[in-house]
């Protein structure tokens, strides 16, 4: 069985500050990892994904995430956030070899001026 835990339901941060959104997963098989962003009243948009190779993955809008296999984590970071980054962020896993995807409950990033 797989599960995804996003440790923070809400993260308030001031503009231009760094931010980290945490994601931990559990799985009995290897997984691929994803981060999506959902702006208000819109569908999800892929930020980045880890399939293999370098554990540091760079995505769109200045976001990056690091896969840590020993800690089963895939935390999302941005060194300096903007007001426009205010959105809901979802971590997701897809198991290798199967058609199974699990999403976390989401973290709402709220960037304050």
């Amino acid at each position: 069985a797989q599960s995804v835990t996003q440790l923070d339901s809400q993260v308030p941060v001031f503009e231009e500050a760094p931010v980290e959104l945490r994601c931990n997963y559990s799985s009995s098989v290897s997984v691929y990892l994803f981060w999506y962003v959902q702006y208000p009243n819109q569908g999800l948009q892929l930020l980045l994904k880890y399939l293999s190779g370098s554990t540091l993955v760079k995505g769109i809008n200045g976001f990056e995430a690091e896969f840590n296999k020993s800690q089963t984590s895939f935390h999302l970071r941005k060194p300096s956030v903007h007001i426009s980054d205010t959105a809901e962020y979802f971590c997701a896993v897809v198991n290798t070899g199967g058609f199974k995807t699990i999403f976390g409950a989401g973290t709402r990033l709220f960037v304050k001026a």
């Binding site: 819109q42 569908g43 058609f99």
Partner: protein, 114 residues
């Protein structure tokens, strides 16, 4: 041009009714999906179709029936609507059939069952 579009955007209906949500993509993708996002923002995949063939069918009540008339369209028909069906339903598409392929999401259809 909207890449993945859904109609209607909002749908309010009473328990017991039958309703449909339509989805169209103009990206030339081969695979389309339906997701359900509940009131707590929890997102779950329901179905996926590749070239009109059903390839993912998660544990979803039989009252939900997807239909793909062609690879650019995937509609969702729901019979005998229940209060618990209230949610936002997202359609998505991808070029490949694997879940690791990048998916493009529609804007969602907010279904409210009263």
């Amino acid at each position: 041009d909207t890449a993945v579009s859904q109609t209607p955007k909002y749908l309010v209906t009473q328990m017991g009714n039958d309703k449909s949500i339509k989805c169209e993509q103009n990206l030339g993708h081969d695979t389309m999906y339906w997701y359900k996002q509940d009131s707590k923002k929890f997102l779950k995949i329901m179905f996926s179709y590749n070239n009109k063939e059903l390839i993912i069918n998660e544990t979803v009540p039989n009252r939900f029936s997807p239909k793909s008339p062609d690879k650019a369209h995937l509609n969702l028909h729901i019979n005998s609507l229940e209060l618990g069906d209230s949610a936002v339903y997202f359609c998505a598409s991808s070029q490949g059939r694997e879940l690791i392929d990048e998916q493009y999401f529609g804007p969602g259809t907010r279904l409210t069952v009263t």
